[in-house]
Symmetry: D2
Subunit: 343 residues, 4 copies
């Protein structure tokens, strides 16, 4: 039994962590920390957990020693609290942006401030099982990637690692996201009447997840992020240029080979069918990231597509997958929910 | 291990049955029958089952003997095929409307035709664990109720069984439903552009589920059914008149007592909170039916509210709960998914 | 040219008033009052008015004498500011709840406080052209009804005025509404992630619009109000009992006769068709209220249905219709937008 | 008075044409042609036109001579019927894809068949007022562009015409669209339950509108088209590379200069605000195309954004604007509806 605490447990990622951790057969939740709602019942904030738990939120100081802690805090808060948490738990999973970049200069450019725990940046292993599984088996500090970064990286990694795309030309990412990514404390711009049905370009350039993609793929990523009508769900389209001579078969083989053994990555690129490319609609609540591709052989242009649930494979579920790896358990333990259709 | 077949497996209820049955630890799916897609992969129709199953659809004739069969067929088809299925399986769960009424005259009025297997009507036990748990332990023919009927019955039953409402005045039900209730073969009126954002009164009077409610509650139910913007989810509001002297405390006690031991009915009637009354939004994918109430003591008017996922507690999940009861297993086996928030 | 001011111009009703008044050929907007955004451009808050107007918001004190003022203020504010506005304008259209009831005791019960301008209650004429057209031709103080009240009243009035329903039994109203009814300053419960896809019973009993319906129809109304997935749009279902002997034809005739000359009420009760009953989906942006009915002759139960856009016929458009009547102009001047389909 | 007919009047574009033409003060609709519904009332198919018109659909043969005809037919049908219509009307507005390309080879590649009226391709003037206003003043055959093409062209044209972008690198377009683009006769993949909430990449490469963009901009366009949750509305994101030395100010000036006099193109690129970039949410029903831009000066990458209502500026409204130009009327006659907010 792994005894875990969640900091930032009243947020959307925090709630999803609780849902998954409470349902995990070998995990015990010993602390759900919320600075906003200490003493309040957890199911008063996360109504889907009614009858699942009688837990109440506690303060950070009330959490004693535990085996693992998950930081689902606002950006900037994690790096100020990191000492507090490493003192209580050998194993820390950070789900904020604070430890996702390994270069303080890039951090400053994308986050607009100095890093406050720069000495730890090198110690965090990226929580991307598909790229860093071996390191995750022994890592104590794990930084779970941003939701759009996760999708973007998985969408292009099989080609980058095989040197199939023209890195000179960089890659353009179009990310679409639901409103839950703005969190439970979002402001008036996220009122239902304002957000419903919108296609809101909230970051035409310079989104923070762009820096993560560039880091992990070793190329210059340019990302546009748009909020579309959805609560959960991320879809990332990637435009890149294939190296001369790379054809559709090669691309196909790269994806198949790369992900054939992955428990949570499915290659979806069919000739026909309503869901022939990755669509988050069928992934909500699940830990899958579906990836697909299309090639225009005349022009050498490549389009890849990735979809996931931003709160699961783009956050809480991915963190739990990392915990499973770290503890030597089956990766899909507590993560077998397949998604719903129709929904 | 219970060996089961699903007839009508390509529909929405059929797909949900497959999702739940494939995830059930003591069930083996031996047949997924579809007259439309024989030979086709199941996950080609139900994309959420990709990587979950390699099953293909088969024809009704290809199904051999099995322990239980679930009929998720179009209305009218079940009563014509019932002999076929009882010959293959001792245990039959019918999820159509064909065996939900026990009075052929009422059947004729609501379905507009003669019943073709009237001799069996008396043999079917209603698949409502909350009313008929003991009978379900030994029943071989089980008729799972309509989704709106299930919600309507559970919303008023605690008061009816305690004789707290004025039966003379009947009860008025307002049911709202998502589009999945129209099924996977719905027509052009259910195109996204036509159905999206609508509040479509498709049955101002005389909906078939009304007859079920009247039957189970022993009163005159008048139901209006409206399609609202949702894919899954049912909410039923019930208006009734309390007997003189019945106050809010009595109503509260009735609900608490009735459902305190029920694994899948929660009483939700809080003083405050965004989700203080039953809302299907937090129930999707789960087998819960949430019920709540409000009393206007001045006028003696009662309002009760029930919410559920029409494909789960309003169909496939409820059927599986009945199977668990019938097989003497824990009722929640394979049904522990708690729902998602936000979604 | 009528010179008008709008108080509360930064809200959703205020914005809709501006859209309609700016597009009206015989109206000049001389003041758009906002206490939150004085000096800010109107189209910074109402982006649909970009390139339509260069107006900026002003404070209440900056408004000089004008011909008519529209109060789209928060509830309770109108009655404290009423003297301010009657000094500036002979003609006042109040769109808040403050002057909708004529009984201070009923006001206290539904609004939970004392009325602060009770002496004026009798001077306000209800802004319901369909009931009070003649009085509106000369009224100086006009109280525009609540959106759900407007729908509820129009849905039942033809039968009440002809004494066709059993008043003893009262009438039950089930109102469904979009999120814009909560206004531009709604709280976290109305965040997109919380409100999207919900069926939220926010007033199972005792909604304020219930009191208006009871007043105008002279019966005991019991209303349940539910937020459903929509930004704009109201639908109200009404359940009542017909007097003995009243058949469907009589009901049909009552509706036809009552509304045949009304420019903005359409009777929609067809035998078939996707939109055979009133649905707000096709009314958004228009000033129509569609009404329909269904009769269960066996039981004598009546169901009526009304739909409208809460910001137009349920607010700003209806107010403008009243202004047109008051100024002796064609009622539909500036109100001819027919609605969109599909939307 | 211009006497006009609409062929394909029962479709979504046809319905929008009827709404706009019936509301136009100098147009008379003399024929609404539908091969599916001859003799049926127009408002039976387009319920938003109830009380607006008593028109019934007719067959193509019943249309006599008229001043202008609008072809809102399925692709491929227009080119087979073109002779029929040019015999009845000097002025033909084609809203299909049949006459949008001027190169039969490109047509074959994108449409997969031979053109059947290739001799006319050169006679059609593109219905893009912002590029071809002068030619449209005298054109008799006008081909209204595809909705995503319209957005894509307007989003990049100011930069292309000033030679500010690197044509060698081409441009990548990411188009998102609502479900109405699939038309009133869409198949089961567009059922509400299947389409709702989806992010469906239906054309990762090779969408037909891509060919139009390439034609009008004179560069190699690569477009990905995705259906997102919306009924109406198009948003197109464009990624391109600026020529060395082109900075943000130059881009800003290009847009301002290009569109300052355009009645239906607004430049939307603000520092802050919920709607600081183009969003179709506030454009529905209006004839505006909003365009915006963002520049990453470090990398020289340019992102432009365009939004419009696919049935209005992306179809019927744009066609009517072309008619106004052709007839020498004010361009915005009958097109002044500003859009709704919130919606």
């Amino acid at each position: 039994m792994t005894r875990v605490a969640v900091a930032g447990a009243a947020g959307y990622i925090g709630g999803e962590l609780l849902r998954l951790l409470l349902g995990h057969p070998e995990v015990e939740v010993v602390g759900a920390v919320s600075s906003r709602f200490p003493g309040k019942r957890v199911d008063g904030v996360h109504p889907n957990l009614r009858s699942v738990t009688d837990l109440t939120f506690c303060s950070a100081d009330e959490v004693g020693e535990c085996d693992a802690v998950f930081l689902a805090l606002p950006h900037r808060v994690a790096m100020t609290q990191i000492d507090h948490w490493t003192q209580r738990s050998k194993l820390v999973f950070d789900l904020t942006g604070d430890f996702r970049l390994d270069d303080t200069e890039v951090f400053r450019r994308y986050y607009g401030e100095e890093h406050r725990a720069a000495h730890l940046l090198g110690d965090f292993v990226p929580g991307i099982p598909e790229l860093h599984r071996d390191r995750l088996r022994t890592a104590d500090l794990i930084s779970v990637p941003g939701c759009m970064a996760m999708a973007g990286v998985l969408a292009l990694y099989p080609l980058v690692v095989r040197d199939l795309i023209d890195l000179e030309q960089g890659a353009q990412f179009d990310a679409r996201t639901g409103s839950s990514g703005s969190g439970a404390t979002a402001g008036p711009a996220n009122l239902h009447a304002e957000r419903s049905g919108s296609m809101r370009v909230f970051a035409p350039t310079g989104h923070r997840h762009e820096a993560e993609i560039s880091r992990h793929l070793g190329l210059s990523a340019a990302m546009t992020a748009t909020g579309v009508e959805a609560v959960r769900g991320i879809q990332t389209i990637c435009h890149a240029t294939l190296r001369p001579g790379v054809d559709k078969q090669t691309v196909r083989r790269a994806f198949r080979e790369q992900y054939s053994e992955e428990p949570f990555v499915r290659v979806v690129a069919h000739q026909r069918g309503t869901f022939r490319y990755p669509d988050p609609k069928i992934l909500l609540g699940s830990n899958y990231c579906d990836v697909g591709y299309a090639v225009d052989e005349d022009s050498g242009r490549l389009t890849t597509i990735a979809a996931l649930d931003n709160l699961v494979k783009g956050g809480a579920g991915n963190a739990l997958q990392c915990l499973n790896i770290r503890m030597g358990r089956p990766e899909n333990l507590g993560l077998t929910f397949p998604g719903l259709h129709p929904l």
